[in-house]
């Protein structure tokens, strides 16, 4: 597919990286020549220097022939204008990053309709949601929800004292007797899609899929905290902080936001009357003590600087805060954050990239078994994808034990209406179901791709 990515910042780069990996023909556009040059050197893409909302630049990039036009420049207005022009020139689908809170409230639908946008991206909103989910389950390193919200995938790091260490997956099922499935294991550099004989070890990262209720029960049995955080300290008054605080506040949690910009603090205080906003420099430990960092359940670092987030998160962990969540946007720093003992690192960039990747891949589908959700998991070495099953699916009605699957592929969950199935050999896939597939080292476009022999 021909895709144009306007804006070569952090997010633009991440999106380009993902789309090139998917095998698309990508052209990047940015007003800064050096940024374009950088991307051309790193990826097999073409580049153009100029404004994305410049008619001549769009013509030269052949926006009219693009299957997808993604605009993620600094400015929302520029993105909207670029997408509008591209659409008028004939681009089939357009995606714009729209961050400003005002645009994202009630009138987003209006904007999308009038600009004929296929999708509006809001990294901050995604980040806010991600943190919100993580606060719900303090022991999870990451939580991914699928549509309908009655099934979720939780990543856990197995510590030395975890009772499941040393058990095979069969033992695990015997012992805990519940509707759950371990769908991937990350051990060091490797990602494994395990079968029943697989033995879990300490320091493994495992992905567990279950319904939310079942998940609570399972975590309790593993002696992991399941208590939702009640008091939360958020460092940095970014937009993500705002979205997070709003949702937490709505549930009646006690939220405190610390930011050093007095103007931003005033804005936040106006927007969120029942949240306590503190103006001050979060890098001063005295201030953090004064504001009671020792007594909070959770500490979330959401400032604009990765380094600041990492350092203060380490500080909070040292003080014994139970739940520390760190926003790190630069991929290089994610590993370092892990080495420093920070377990829960979120990256808005990744979340946005997943969304765009999912959208681009769904456009490629011929058969129509639509991709609903896509998450790249375990350092992007594996994927969890939710498909809606169409009547054309070859394997419908076949018992799963008779279904020949590709290696390293697992049917991890089926949701049928309101019911959630953790599949066993006797279950079947029926049209209308939503099926969650976990796969390593393979890019699935359609549900039929999971079957040995591929699409026919």
């Amino acid at each position: 597919m021909k895709i144009i990515v306007a804006g070569c910042g952090k997010i633009g780069t991440a999106i380009t990286h993902a789309l090139v990996g998917e095998g698309h023909n990508v052209t990047v556009v940015d007003i800064k020549g050096a940024a374009v040059e950088e991307l051309i050197n790193r990826y097999d893409v073409n580049g153009l220097t100029g404004s994305a909302a410049d008619y001549d630049v769009l013509l030269e990039a052949e926006a009219g022939k693009a299957d997808l036009f993604v605009s993620v420049t600094e400015k929302d207005e520029m993105n909207m204008l670029a997408c509008l022009f591209a659409r008028r020139l004939g681009a089939k689908h357009t995606i714009a990053r729209i961050r400003t809170t005002d645009y994202n409230e009630g009138n987003l639908g209006f904007l999308k309709q009038e600009l004929q946008l296929s999708m509006a991206l809001n990294p901050d909103l995604l980040a806010g949601q991600q943190v919100f989910n993580l606060l719900r389950l303090p022991s999870a390193a990451r939580i991914d929800t699928f549509s309908g919200k009655n099934i979720e995938m939780v990543e856990l790091r197995l510590k030395q004292d975890n009772p499941v260490c040393g058990l095979t997956l069969w033992d695990l099922r015997e012992k805990y007797k519940g509707l759950f499935l371990v769908c991937y294991v990350q051990r060091g550099e490797d990602v494994i899609i395990p079968d029943g004989r697989f033995t879990l070890l300490a320091d493994d990262k495992i992905g567990v899929i279950a319904s939310p209720g079942e998940m609570q029960r399972l975590l309790k049995k593993m002696h992991l905290t399941t208590k939702t955080a009640r008091s939360i300290m958020i460092l940095g008054g970014s937009r993500a902080s705002y979205y997070l605080a709003r949702r937490l506040d709505f549930l009646g949690k006690s939220v405190k936001i610390i930011d050093k910009d007095p103007v931003r603090c005033r804005e936040l205080a106006d927007l969120l009357p029942s949240v306590s906003v503190v103006e001050g420099d979060g890098t001063h430990q005295d201030l953090l003590f004064e504001e009671g960092i020792r007594s909070v359940d959770a500490f979330v670092a959401l400032t604009g600087t990765d380094e600041e987030n990492i350092l203060l998160s380490v500080f909070a962990s040292k003080l014994g805060v139970k739940r520390v969540i760190t926003k790190v946007n630069r991929t290089e720093l994610t590993g370092i954050a892990g080495d420093l003992g920070l377990e829960t690192v979120i990256s808005p960039k990744k979340a946005v990239t997943d969304v765009v990747t999912r959208y681009a891949r769904a456009l490629n589908t011929a058969e129509g078994s639509k991709i609903e959700t896509l998450y790249r998991i375990a350092d992007e070495k594996a994927e969890a994808i939710e498909f809606v099953v169409t009547p054309e699916f070859r394997g419908k009605g076949v018992e799963l034990r008779d279904l020949k699957l590709q290696p390293n592929t697992l049917i991890a969950g089926i949701s049928r209406g309101r019911k959630t199935l953790i599949p066993t050999g006797s279950d079947t896939i029926e049209p209308g179901d939503r099926v969650i597939v976990v796969t390593a080292g393979r890019k699935l476009v359609e549900l039929s791709d999971i079957m040995a022999g591929g699409r026919k």
Binding site: K2, V20, N41, R42, D44
Partner: protein, 481 residues
């Protein structure tokens, strides 16, 4: 520095080269030269086996390469290709001396067309075919060829930049591989068209291919001692004149025409300048030599052919231009340095570089008049990045330095300055014949081994535009830091 990749990639290319050696073997079989066919087959097989083994040994951990790996890979590939490509000449006994064979092969791959052969018709068909086919491969670039037929990874742009000549190398389409494919399809299509047109003009089919390869790669090896002068047909000479000119045009122009952006193609200032240089030089020479030929048609034909041949750095000839008056010969020598367009198969400085040099010069003069003035240079209607201007100036300085050094070494041979200078210029700019003792009717056979090796290096420097070769031998490139 990804050292393993630096060895792995050239071996990968050698595997393709081994397969390409089957073509002359086939030609040998067709013309009943079984022994020569066998030699090509054996050299091909041995190269393939050794490359496969070599690749096992140096299998890289990662395929990530940066600009400097790209440069070194290209330089190393070209050297290896020439070393291997020279073998059949030696083994078949047509060119028994390895240094001579290497000179001939490097001259082929770099599309120079300078030859040490004194008796061309005595060569076997297989060898003649291989000699000219190296022109065709080297013209558009052997790595670009491999890029078109196999996936060379995300960062193959570095290799493309190092191999395709010109100050600015961009891709036609987002994917490097697709770009390489388009380039080669245009290249192949135009070559076949030329073969057909020559064949229509009653040239023997074998010679059609030889001369089409020669003009496509802007090389200049002919199967005849008198080059294109051996065919007493105005039609054939005009066909070759036009095709040499066409292969000296930036291939982006052909892509623009293919995607129906003819207006943009015609507006190209480099194309216009290139055409203007050709027309004006041909006219000047025609006036200068008018008394030497019987008819106006013949005068214009010879002038146009020689100008097209030298400007595009091909090196075919229809007449002994060494016997022309001084003015005409000087014009030809100057054209040697200008060269063809960037992004074409020709050599030399490239028209666009010359344009940038002139524009930069003009700006400096204006700056002397108005010290506070701020102006940016423009090329093809776009603002030129200052780094490109900077690179071009540096390239020119380096180019002159390398030229001077080669000239100095070659002058150790007891030839006159005219011969030494034009021999160096003709090799460094990938043209082929020079003036005097290396004129169009003579050969490089009389040079000493030292001069031959120096000129071999000059050809490589000229084709790869100096930097890749320089980086490959610079100690700083190889330091583990």
């Amino acid at each position: 520095m990804n050292r393993r990749m630096i060895l792995y990639m050239p071996l990968q290319i050698l595997k393709v080269a081994a397969a390409v050696l089957l073509l002359p073997a086939l030609v040998g079989l067709i013309y009943g030269e079984t022994r020569h066919a066998l030699v090509y087959l054996c050299v091909g097989a041995a190269t393939f086996v050794l490359s496969v083994i070599g690749q096992r040994v140096v299998k890289p951990w990662t395929k990530v390469i940066y600009a400097r790996e790209g440069f070194v890979i290209v330089a190393l590939t070209w050297v290896l290709m020439s070393l291997v490509g020279a073998l059949p000449f030696v083994i078949t006994g047509d060119i028994p001396n390895y240094v001579n064979a290497l000179f001939e092969t490097m001259s082929g791959f770099t599309t120079t067309g300078a030859s040490i052969l004194t008796d061309i018709p005595a060569m076997s068909h297989a060898n003649l075919f291989w000699r000219s086919f190296t022109h065709w491969l080297g013209g558009m670039g052997i790595l670009v060829f491999v890029m078109a037929i196999s996936n060379m990874g995300d960062r193959s742009i570095h290799i493309m930049r190092a191999e395709i000549p010109g100050p600015i190398v961009g891709k036609l389409v987002p994917r490097a591989r697709e770009t390489a494919k388009i380039l080669y399809l245009i290249y192949m299509g135009m070559t076949l068209l030329e073969v057909a047109l020559l064949w229509v003009g009653k040239m023997p089919l074998f010679d059609c291919f030889i001369h089409a390869f020669g003009s496509a790669g802007t090389g200049g090896f002919s199967s005849q001692a008198a080059s294109m002068g051996a065919y007493d047909s105005a039609y054939l000479q005009w066909v070759v004149t036009v095709f040499m000119f066409l292969f000296g045009v930036n291939f982006n122009i052909y892509y623009l025409i293919l995607v129906k952006k003819i207006g943009q193609a015609v507006r190209s200032t480099e194309l216009r300048t290139y055409a203007a240089i050709a027309v004006i030089s041909a006219a000047a020479i025609a006036i200068n030599i008018r008394s030497m030929y019987a008819t106006l048609g013949e005068t214009v034909r010879h002038a146009a052919f020689q100008v097209s041949s030298i400007l595009t750095t091909t090196g075919f000839s229809t007449t002994d231009f060494d016997r022309w008056p001084h003015f005409s010969r000087t014009v030809l020598v100057l054209l040697m340095f200008v060269g063809a367009s960037a992004g074409s198969t020709g050599g030399g400085l490239k028209v666009s570089r010359v344009m940038i040099l002139f524009k930069s010069m003009h700006r400096e003069i204006m700056r002397l008049l108005h010290p506070k003035s701020v102006r940016s240079l423009r090329l093809e209607g776009k603002k030129l990045d200052e780094t490109v201007v900077h690179n071009t100036l540096n390239y020119f300085a380096l180019y002159m330095l390398c030229f001077a050094l080669c000239f100095l070494v070659v002058s150790v041979d007891q030839f006159n300055i005219e011969t030494s200078l034009t021999a160096t210029a003709a090799c460094f700019n990938n043209i082929g014949p020079g003036l005097g003792a290396v004129g169009p009717t003579a050969s490089y056979a009389g040079m000493t081994t030292l001069s031959k090796l120096t000129l071999t290096l000059a050809m490589l420097l000229g084709r790869l535009e100096i930097f890749p070769v320089l980086l490959a031998v610079a100690p700083a490139t190889w330091q583990r830091k």
